[in-house]
Structures are given as C-alpha cells and as structure tokens.
C-alpha cells in the first residue's frame, strides 16, 4: 500500500512542477493578429547555430509560431525532410542525388537557399615556426588516401622543413565539413587517408593541436576565431598569392577552395502554411546580421536579395 501511495505522490509532484512551468509560457497568447503555427527544422549541426539565432529573434516577431530545431546531421535531416516529417532542412552541403530522388518519390519539391559561408581554417601549433603557407597541392599530398603511412614527415612536404613527423587532426568522416574538405582538396568527397586523429567535436581537435607542436588540422573558421591566441592560422595558396581566411576573403570567394556555402532547404508542402513562409522570409532578411553573431560569414547584400527573389518566385509557383 505504502509503495503505491509513495509512487502516486512522486508522480503528482512531478506533474505539478511541470504544469506550473507550462503556464509561464502563455503570456503572449492575447495577440491574435499574429500568425499561429509550427515550423519544424532539422539537419546539420554546422548550420544549427545560425538557425537557432534566427528562431530566437523570430520569436519576438511571431511569438505564437513554435519553431523547433533538431541536429540529426545533414544526411539524417534529409531523410526526415524527404518523408515530409520536417519543413526545413539545415544543410552544410548540397542535396545528394539519392536524397533528391527520395523527395521526388514523395512528391516533395524544394528550394535551396544559400544562407551563409563558412571558411575551413588550416591551423598549426604556434610553436611551429617553419610553415608560412600551404599550397592546395601540398594539402592534397598530405591528406590524399595514397599518403597513408608514406607521407609522414614535414621534409616530405617541402625539403627545407624539418625531418620530423607531423600529426593530423580533422573532423570525423560523418561530418559535412570532412566531405567538403576532401572534395575541395583531394578532389573526391569522402576520400582521405585514415591515419589521422578524428573527432566529431571540433573543440577536441582544438585541444589536440594546442598540445602538439607538429600538428596540422582543419575545422570551421569559428573554432579558430575563439582560440586565436593558442593556434596559428595558415594561409592557403591556390593560384596567385597565399590567402588567409577572413571575413572579406571568404565572402569574396578569394579564399578558395576552402570557403563553402551553407544552405537551408524548404519544402513546397510546408510553404502552404503561412508560418513557414514568414519564418523563411525572416531568415533571409536577418541572416546578414545574425550569421556574423554566431561566427559565420554572411553573403554579400545583393546575394541575399537574389535568394529572397528566388524564394519569392518559388512560393508563387506553389500558389
């Protein structure tokens, strides 16, 4: 008997706590001129901080629209998107043919909108005083699959560099960042040497490079920005002079090939709901400012204008 009584009591207490918190949320419901509805977003964890920032600001404009954001990864997100389970997918790479096919089969048409750029930073330990820049060919030589266990010393990259072994740090093979880097540097997405320290958590890579004089690593520029004093950023030479990734060089495309666009995909089925349309419009109108807030690089103004008109024509087509 006491067992039962105790349990009921415990459950009752939990539900009271929950209920009392729930009532807090309903302050804004008197405003009826505003849109009501839901916007379900999932996808890349790289794009997440931007979408979170937009959703946070959107709340003050449309308090009755419930925006939720998940982090299933670009691929996992597209799976849900193609089943019609989500309205918008955050993507750190363009949609793959297979994923596009799945959308077609479920009669989901979509529009791809570029919302920001991300630069991939090539970094080394600050104690390393011999590297002034890398060329894209050198990066390829270091990272391509054939380099595994054969290219292991600095002197093999450039003869004047020391005869010491280097160690490599990079994101895990499941991340969009890895896909992009391998495509840009090695020439084939998802193809690289396997003998490097991989982590899905970029902060782990940062710590690894800080503690290792012979480290070479790459990750999103935002992680360098936060650790500028303990890492050394290396310019990359493609054609012409070596270029450091900065706001300007990534934005202008000068930092090539390691600056990448990031996207959101919006489905036409979802756009029939005014909440989704309002959210995407808000996204494109405010991205320039908010993207920078969270450490990414905004597109030039006129490009956002282009995305807005593309979105507009896509919306009108569906109506």
């Amino acid at each position: 008997m006491t067992l039962k009584a105790n349990l009921t009591l415990a459950l009752l207490a939990t539900s009271i706590i929950i209920a009392s918190c729930g009532s807090k949320d309903s302050t804004s419901e008197r405003d009826t001129t505003k849109i009501k509805g839901e916007v379900k977003i999932d996808g890349s964890s790289t794009v997440y901080p931007i979408t979170e920032a937009i959703a946070e600001e959107f709340r003050s404009e449309q308090p009755n629209v419930r925006v939720t954001v998940g982090v299933s990864g670009t691929g996992g997100g597209f799976k849900k998107f193609s089943r019609g389970e989500t309205d918008i997918n955050d993507a750190s790479r363009p949609i793959k043919d297979k994923e596009a096919e799945a959308c077609r089969q479920n009669n989901i048409n979509y529009v791809e909108l570029t919302v920001a750029y991300d630069g991939l930073a090539i970094v080394i330990n600050p104690k390393n005083d011999w590297v002034d820049h890398f060329t894209v060919e050198e990066l390829k030589k270091i990272w391509e699959p054939a380099a595994q266990e054969t290219i292991t010393k600095w002197s093999q990259i450039r003869p004047e560099w020391p005869d010491e072994e280097f160690s490599l740090y990079g994101p895990g093979v499941a991340s969009g960042t890895y896909d992009y880097f391998t495509e840009a540097v090695v020439g084939e997405s998802g193809s690289s040497r396997g003998d490097y320290t991989a982590s899905e958590d970029d902060n782990v890579l940062v710590q690894g490079i800080i503690g290792d004089k012979n480290a070479i690593g790459f990750f999103g520029l935002a992680y360098y920005e936060e650790n500028q004093n303990s890492l050394k950023l290396i310019p990359v030479k493609n054609e012409g002079e070596p270029v450091l990734p900065t706001l300007e060089t990534v934005k202008s495309g000068e930092y090539s090939p390691l600056s990448r666009p990031i996207f959101i995909y919006v489905s036409d089925v979802a756009l029939k709901r005014p909440a989704v349309e309002a959210f995407v419009n808000f996204y494109l109108a405010n991205a320039a400012e908010l993207v920078q807030d969270v450490g990414y690089i905004p597109l030039p103004k006129e490009e956002y204008q282009k995305e807005i008109s593309e979105f507009e024509s896509f919306t009108n087509r569906g109506k």
Partner: protein, 285 residues
C-alpha cells in the same frame, strides 16, 4: 623462510595495488567533478533555470531542457514501473521453471546489455513511425521505458527472491490466495529492493542521449511541453549541443547544466539509498 618472505611481500603488495585501484577511479572522478564545479557553478542562477535557449551564451538557459527531463522521467516511470514490476512478479511467483522460463530469463539478461542506440532505432520504427507518435515526449518515454525494463524486471525478481519462503507459507497457511499473499505480504516486504531498482533504472534513463537523438529529440525548443504529444529536448541533449560550440561561454553553460544533471542523479540515488534503509529496518521476520 625465503618463501614466507616472498608470500608476505606479495600479500602486502596486493593490498597496495587494491588501494591504488580503488583510489584511481575515485581520483579521476573527483578531478572531473571539481573541474566541472569550478567551471560551471558560478553560472547557475535563477535565470539559468528559467531561460530559453539562446545564441548568446550568457542569456541562454535550460528551462526547456530540465522540464523536458522531468516530463520524460515522469512518463517513463508511469510506463516502465507497472510493466516491469508485473513482469518480475509473474516470472518469480507465477511462472513455471521450465525451458521457456530460462530462455526468457537469458533474454532479459541480454537485453540489459544491448547498446542504448539500438533501442533508439527500435523506438524510431515502432513508436515514432508505426504508432505515429512523432518525435514526442511519449515516443521518448516509451523508448526509454523499454531500455530500463530489463533492469526493473531483474531488480523486482531479486527483491522477491530475497523474501523468505516462510512468509509466503504462513500467509498461505492463513488461507490467503496467491494474489493476496503477493499483494499483502511478499510485495511490501520486497518493496525496498524494488524501489531501489526502479530509481537506479530511472537515473540511468535521465542520462541517456543516444536513443533520444535517434527518435528525434530536438536541440532548440522554445516552449515548455504541455502534453505528452509535444516535442521536447532533455538536459543531456542540451549539454551535448553546448559542448560542441566554439564559444567558450557555451562550454561554461554545459558545465553548469552538467552540475544540474548530476544533482538530479545524486538526489535520485540518495532517495534510493534512503528507501532501502527505511524498508530494511521496517520489515521484521
């Protein structure tokens, strides 16, 4: 003589080795906890507990995360306790000890060792898609309930096994039916052990992230759930999300959220210990 000396050396050597092993785990744990406390304790205030997620680390809070955890905990308890305890009673009190029973027993023991992400995939197919719960609290609670069922069943059985046979026989001797014996004698006598098992199982559920990510727990939820069909996030999700952000402020937030999560687990374990002691004293046979 020489042999005795050698044996004594081995003897005391092993003692120090055992002491080292004991403290090794404790020291590592202490370092972790102290580091997290130093990093995060200053961040915890009322605002942190009552704020929504935000892109500004200093403004962000864990309201939706901890209420989500409370919801999940309550619902998981509601689902898993009746199922688990009833299954344990059946297997221990009613079930015949035949081949089928031992197959079931082995399987339950194996289920307790299945990686949690597998339960997530199962939950995704059954609860999220087939039963159409979506990425709701209910789907999450059912998935976690499945995950901890084996633990509750095993704990219930062990607790029932520990009740002396004489208690049951006395009850039968008084003319009680099997059900009366279980409800009025065996179950109260075993409830300390059962409750301990339940609470330990639930504190495991509180810390699970992987199966919830699979079934679609979200990272950004700007509202507190009001019904079991609402979408949700939980503390471990929020921590996971913050730890991987580049800005140091989010790392501090993660440490603070870890402290809250640890507190919840400690409190639950504390309750488990309290209940065990209380029942052990109360039942005299």
């Amino acid at each position: 003589m020489n042999n005795t000396l050698k044996n004594r050396l081995i003897d005391s050597g092993f003692k120090y080795f055992a002491i080292f092993c004991t403290f090794f785990g404790l020291i590592v744990l202490a370092i972790f906890i102290i580091q997290i406390l130093i990093e995060g304790v200053g961040r915890i205030d009322w605002g942190f507990l009552t704020s929504l997620p935000s892109r500004r680390a200093s403004k962000a809070g864990i309201l939706t995360a901890w209420t989500g955890t409370a919801w999940i905990l309550g619902l998981t308890a509601l689902i898993s306790i009746p199922l688990g305890v009833a299954a344990g009673i059946y297997l221990e009190e009613y079930g015949k000890k035949n081949r089928l029973a031992s197959i079931i027993e082995v399987n339950i023991a194996n289920l307790a060792g299945v990686p949690s992400i597998i339960y997530g995939l199962l939950g995704l197919e059954i609860f999220v898609r087939t039963l159409n719960f979506g990425g709701s609290l209910l789907a999450g609670a059912f998935t976690l309930a499945l995950l901890i069922l084996p633990i509750i069943i095993v704990a219930t059985r062990e607790a029932l096994k520990a009740v002396p046979k004489s208690l049951r026989e006395a009850s039968f001797g008084m003319g009680a039916t099997k059900w009366q014996t279980i409800w009025y004698q065996t179950l109260p006598a075993a409830s300390g052990g059962i409750l301990t098992g339940i609470i330990l199982a639930l504190s495991r559920a509180v810390g699970e992230t992987a199966p919830l990510i699979v079934i679609g727990a979200l990272a950004y939820v700007p509202f507190v759930a009001r019904t079991p069909m609402d979408e949700f996030t939980v503390l471990p999700m929020q921590i996971f999300n913050w730890v991987s952000r580049p800005q140091h402020g989010f790392i501090v937030n993660a440490a603070a959220a870890i402290i809250i999560l640890l507190l919840i687990t400690f409190v639950m374990n504390g309750i488990a210990i309290y209940l065990r002691n209380k029942w052990q004293k109360k039942v005299n046979w």
